[in-house]
Every structure is written in structure tokens, then in C-alpha cells.
């Protein structure tokens, strides 16, 4: 099929990662009482961004699986 599935996954996770990081950096720290004081938006946003970037990299390189 013409579309490498890793590209849409990469884009989606990159967008989600950026959104969560931005919101995590700007948001009021009080809302994180619920997540045990951890800024889960920021931390998980970084993980999602990294995963998204990896998928984009693999998809762009077009390695045969």
C-alpha cells in the first residue's frame, strides 16, 4: 500500500507530544495533586514526542519491514 503507516502514527504522536508538553509547561501546578504531584502532561508528552519522532524517522527512511 502506498502509505507507510509509520508516518501518520509519527505525526499523531508528535502533535500529541507537543500539545502535552506545552500544556504541561504552562498549566497551574495545582492540577497535579491528582497525579501524585508529577507533571504527567510534561513527562508523558516528552515520551510521546520521542516515540512520534522515531516513527517519523523510520517511516521517512522507508526501511523495509
Amino acid at each position: 500500500m502506498g502509505l507507510d503507516i509509520r508516518l501518520p502514527i509519527g505525526f499523531l504522536f508528535t502533535i500529541f507530544g507537543v500539545l502535552l508538553i506545552a500544556f504541561g509547561a504552562l498549566s497551574d501546578k495545582a492540577i497535579y495533586a491528582r497525579s501524585l504531584g508529577i507533571n504527567i502532561n510534561l513527562e508523558w508528552g516528552v515520551v510521546m514526542l520521542l516515540f512520534g519522532a522515531l516513527m517519523l524517522f523510520l517511516g521517512r527512511r522507508g526501511t523495509k519491514v
Partner: protein, 595 residues
């Protein structure tokens, strides 16, 4: 409760889902593209879709609920009730499904046996898929209502809150309709892969926070009765474990009959492997799926366990006082009691308060996730519902078009016509699912009855496939009578037994009560065992009494007459046999760790 960021995440996701369909549209030219993704899907994509198509409502919500109710023994549904069957279908059965070039599971039955066996399977399967996708939609709309996801936008637009249910149904139906119409099975498979990653991304941080809060696995053990944290403890007797089943019923009923009947014969999952780009990819599809499947209990069952282990508390103050889930005071952990219409907690006949276990996982999300990642978690939840629905719809449109329409209604149409029919089938399939969802709101008993009938029809299936693939003497008459006999045996067994505390009726015993099982689960497992055995014996006897098929017509369809697929030139990690051994060893290890 939800803020702009949460809505943004949800909307971005829906745009992507439809966008993938739109991009794939130009690759759909023939009916094979639409129904079988042009047989061009790489193994790992087909494998994740194989897993995701089964990740419907039952999985995420239901397994969390069972985790809270039965504890870690729920993982038997994965380690006993899925992995061995997935390995078997990949290693032994896929050569016939893929190698015969059948376009669907009923079509394989047509090639191997005869028209009537295919017809029986095709019609019952088509009705069943519509029914399950309807149930999935109903559950999703109900959940959206309970979690008050759309309350604030509806209030803002001045729309009545009662419309939220209808709106949720229609919007989910339209999204699934949109992407399947555009890209067919490829679109469904691609979206299932996206949904897989999204579900992991949404639930992994939940499990992480939950475990951190309660002190890890040791903390769970310290807060719960040992029966929750051991999967094999007390399995020698149905009265000494939470499931209410003994090891034989569990391994034979769930592990053999039900699990092999589902994973090895259900076109919903097999279709994903049939879409793979080569024989070896098709064989690896279920094996690749088995790796994440093996670890999924950690993702979907643990939230339920954590929810029941936490100290009982009031959620209302946490969720910004917008969650008004009733019955929290009488609940346990994060799980509220079931409430009657008059606002009283519902008690069973021993006077124990019944808990609303289905809320275990949703409440975990609300409890731990602040706005932002909450949007992600809810999107993951919606994604799981949609992947289950889409799986049913793509399986339905294929079986309808190839096995019902092309076989009985219009045999000699052009390929464009069948492609058009597939799109039409998608539309009316989804319309009928919506109708089923509304039926579920009005007639709960009918739904229970239908589910029962499907269980009777499904239970014997694996005996037919096993004999068909591995015994060349099996005949069409044998297979057909065996299936009917097995279904009747299931109905009869159900009619003569009851689970403990059950009243005769939809729970069983509608002719007489000859045996009482310690639990409904034990009754179900034994119904399946009787159905399978009857089908197995009847098929053999009738086959021996009827004329054998000619051997040259069975090449590629039966084990003894088919060349083994070669594994030359494959790297070790591409070989089905190697993957199979690794999966089975790892599963055994998990069973030992969580015994």
C-alpha cells in the same frame, strides 16, 4: 471537567482517523483492495491490527471490571484463553486459510466442504457481527453519558442532555462509516494500528501512576486478599478461587474450546491475517499479535485491581465536583455500588452490596489523570470502542458481499459491482448496528437471549475446522450435521443446568435442573465442552457413513495433502516456529511469576 486541551486532543485524533481513510481512498480500485487490503499488509501491521480488532468494549472496560472482581486470575483469559490458540492458528491453520486463497472463513468452508456448511457459517456470522458492533456502540454511548464527557458542550449549545446518548451513537457510527467507506479494510487496519499505540499511550501512564501510588505489586499484595493476586491459587476446586471454576473446566472450556473457537475460526481476526502480503506474513500475524497480547493484562487488568485496592473514597471532590457518580459511599476503592432507580444501593440475596465493576477503569482515569492527559486517556478509550466496531463492520461487509450476495443473490456481476455492494453493505451494516444499539436500550432480555444463541452456535465451530483441516476423510454432510448437533448439545446442556443461585430462564435450566454449577463461568465453559465434543463425534460418525471427497479437490485445504510452507531464507525472527516457541515459553513464565 474537560478543557480546551482535552478537546483539542480528541478532535486531532478524529481528524487523523478520517484523514487516513481519505489518503487511502485512491488506492482502492478493486474489490480485493476494499475487502482484503489488496493482500499487501506487512506482518507487523497485520499483527497489531489482529490484536486491535479484538480490543473492543469487552477488552478495556470489561477486563478492568473483571480485574476488580476476580483479581489477577482474569489474565487466564489471555494466557490460557488466547495465546495457545493464537500460536496454533499461526503455525498450523494459516497455511490453509491463506494458501487456499479463500477470501473469507466461510469461503474456506465452501472449498473444503460444501455450500450448506458455508451458508450456515456465513449467515450466523453476519448476524453476530452486526449484533456485536451494535452492543459495542451502545456500551460506548452509555459510557460517554455516565462520564459526562459531552455535558459541558451540550449545556453551552443549549441542547438537552438527553440527546448525548443519540449524539454519541451517531457520531461514532459516522466516523467508522467514513473511514471504512473511504479506504476499506486497509483503512480499518491502519486505524487499528494507530488505536493500538494510542491505547498503550493512554493506559501505560495510568498503570504507572496507580502502581506508584499503591506501592507497586507488593503494595497491591499488601492491600488485597491473596485470592486477588494469585492466578492459580485454589484452582483445584471451584469453591476456593474467585472465578468459581476448577482447572479442568478452565483449561478445556476456556483454553481449548472457546479460545480456539474464537481465535482460529472467527473471520473478524482471521481477515487481518488474510490481508497479509505473503504466506509467511500471514502465519506470523497471530504470532506477532501474541507478544503484546501476553502483556496486555498489565495494561487492562491492573487498573481494575488498583481501583479495588485503594482505600474507599469520594471521587466527587477530585473531579472538580463535576463527576456525580452515585453510590460511592457504599462502594469499595474507586468502584461505586450499583444503584437502583430509587437511589438505593442494589444488594444480592445475601445482602451484600453489588459493585458497578464496569466503572473501575473509567474511574481510575478520572482519579489519576489531570486535564490534558485526561483527554488522551478518554481518546484511547473511545479508540478502543471504535476499533472493535470497525473490525465487526469490515468482517460483515466481506462476508455479506462474497459469501451471501455473490453466492446466492447475484453470481456473475462485475468486480466494480461487488466493490459498490461492499460500500453499500458498510452503510446498511452500520445502520443495522445502530438499530441493534437502540434495541439494547429497550429490550435487555432479547439481547441476553441472542448472546446465548450465538454462544450455542459458536461453541462447536472449532471441532469442524480441526477435523476439516487435519482429517481428509471429513465430509460436508459430516461437518454440517456436526455443527447442528453441537449447537443442539449446547442448548440442551444449558437447558438442563443452572449456575448457583440462578433462577430457571435465560440463565439456564429452562427444561429441568439436573446439575448446579458453582458459577456462571463454570456453566459456560462446560456448555462449550459438551458442544465441542458432540460436534467432534457426530462429524466423525456421519463422515464415515457418507461418501468421501475426492482427494485431488482437497489439495491445499487439508494437512496431509498440502506441501509444508518452506522456511528457507528466513531470518530466525521471521520463522513462525521460532516465534511460537518464544511466545509459549514467555507465557509459561508469566504464569509461574503470577501463580
Amino acid at each position: 471537567m474537560l478543557r480546551t486541551i482535552d478537546w483539542t486532543i480528541m478532535i486531532v485524533y478524529f481528524v487523523f482517523v478520517l484523514g487516513i481513510g481519505a489518503v487511502l481512498k485512491r488506492y482502492v480500485k478493486t474489490s480485493t483492495d476494499f475487502f482484503l487490503a489488496g493482500r499487501s499488509i506487512p506482518a507487523w501491521v497485520a499483527g497489531l491490527a489482529f490484536l486491535s480488532a479484538n480490543l473492543g468494549a469487552q477488552e478495556v472496560i470489561g477486563m478492568g471490571a473483571s480485574g476488580a472482581k476476580y483479581g489477577i486470575s482474569t489474565s487466564h483469559f489471555y494466557w490460557i484463553g488466547a495465546i495457545p490458540a493464537m500460536v496454533f492458528v499461526g503455525v498450523f491453520m494459516m497455511p490453509f486459510y491463506y494458501g487456499s486463497r479463500a477470501r473469507s472463513v466461510p469461503e474456506y468452508l465452501r472449498l473444503r466442504f460444501d455450500e450448506k456448511t458455508r451458508g450456515l457459517n456465513a449467515v450466523s456470522f453476519a448476524i453476530m457481527t452486526l449484533f456485536s458492533s451494535g452492543i459495542s456502540m451502545y456500551a460506548m454511548a452509555k459510557l460517554i453519558q455516565i462520564l459526562h464527557i459531552f455535558d459541558s458542550p451540550f449545556a453551552w449549545l443549549g441542547l438537552p442532555q438527553a440527546w448525548i446518548f443519540h449524539f454519541s451513537l451517531v457520531i461514532s457510527a459516522l466516523v467508522v462509516l467514513g473511514y471504512i467507506l473511504l479506504g476499506g479494510l486497509t483503512s480499518a487496519i491502519y486505524n487499528e494500528v494507530v488505536q493500538f499505540f494510542l491505547i498503550v499511550a493512554g493506559f501505560l501512564p495510568l498503570v504507572w501512576l496507580g502502581l506508584k501510588n499503591i506501592g507497586g505489586w507488593q503494595g497491591l499484595k499488601a492491600n488485597l486478599d491473596p485470592s486477588y493476586t494469585h492466578s492459580w491459587l485454589g484452582m483445584s476446586n471451584p469453591h476456593t478461587n474467585r472465578l468459581g471454576v476448577e482447572w479442568f473446566g478452565l483449561t478445556m472450556g476456556l483454553g481449548f474450546v472457546l479460545s480456539f473457537g474464537y481465535w482460529c475460526t472467527d473471520f473478524l481476526v482471521i481477515q487481518r491475517a488474510m490481508a497479509a502480503n505473503s504466506m509467511n506474513s500471514a502465519r506470523c500475524t497471530p504470532l506477532i499479535a501474541a507478544f503484546p497480547k501476553m502483556l496486555f493484562p498489565l495494561l487492562v487488568i491492573l487498573p481494575g485491581l488498583i481501583a479495588i485496592a485503594l482505600p474507599t473514597q469520594n471521587l466527587a471532590h477530585l473531579a472538580g465536583a463535576t463527576t456525580t457518580i452515585q453510590g460511592q459511599a457504599e462502594g469499595r476503592g474507586l468502584i461505586p455500588a450499583k444503584m437502583s432507580a430509587s437511589g438505593q444501593p442494589i444488594r444480592d440475596k445475601d445482602g451484600t452490596i453489588e459493585l458497578d465493576y464496569d466503572l473501575a477503569t473509567p474511574n481510575m482515569l478520572l482519579h489519576y489523570f489531570p486535564t490534558g492527559i485526561l483527554g488522551l486517556g478518554l481518546t484511547a478509550l473511545l479508540a478502543s470502542f471504535m476499533s472493535g466496531m470497525a473490525g465487526n463492520v469490515t468482517a460483515f461487509n466481506t462476508v455479506w458481499t462474497y459469501d451471501i450476495y455473490q453466492s446466492y443473490i447475484n453470481k456473475k456481476a462485475s468486480d466494480e459491482h461487488y466493490l459498490w455492494m461492499g460500500r453499500m453493505a458498510t452503510i446498511f451494516g452500520i445502520a443495522l448496528s445502530v438499530a441493534t444499539a437502540y434495541m439494547a436500550t429497550r429490550f435487555n432480555n432479547i439481547m441476553d437471549m441472542l448472546q446465548l444463541v450465538f454462544a450455542f452456535v459458536n461453541a462447536p465451530l472449532f471441532a469442524t475446522f480441526l477435523l476439516g483441516m487435519f482429517w481428509k476423510r471429513t465430509t460436508g454432510h459430516g461437518a454440517f450435521t456436526g455443527l447442528l448437533g453441537g449447537t443442539m448439545a449446547a442448548a440442551l446442556h444449558h437447558a438442563l443446568t443452572l449456575p448457583q443461585g440462578g433462577v430457571p430462564g435465560v440463565k439456564g435450566g429452562w427444561i429441568a435442573t439436573m446439575h448446579v454449577y458453582p458459577s456462571e463461568m463454570a456453566q459456560n465453559f462446560w456448555t462449550a465442552i459438551y458442544a465441542w465434543t458432540t460436534c467432534f463425534v457426530v462429524t466423525i460418525v456421519v463422515s464415515l457413513l457418507t461418501r468421501a471427497h475426492e482427494e485431488k479437490g482437497l489439495v491445499g485445504l487439508v494437512y496431509s495433502l498440502t506441501e509444508r510452507p518452506t522456511q528457507h531464507g528466513l531470518r530466525w525472527y521471521q520463522r513462525p516456529a521460532v516465534l511460537a516457541v518464544v511466545v509459549l515459553a514467555a507465557t509459561a513464565l508469566l504464569n509461574i511469576v503470577f501463580r
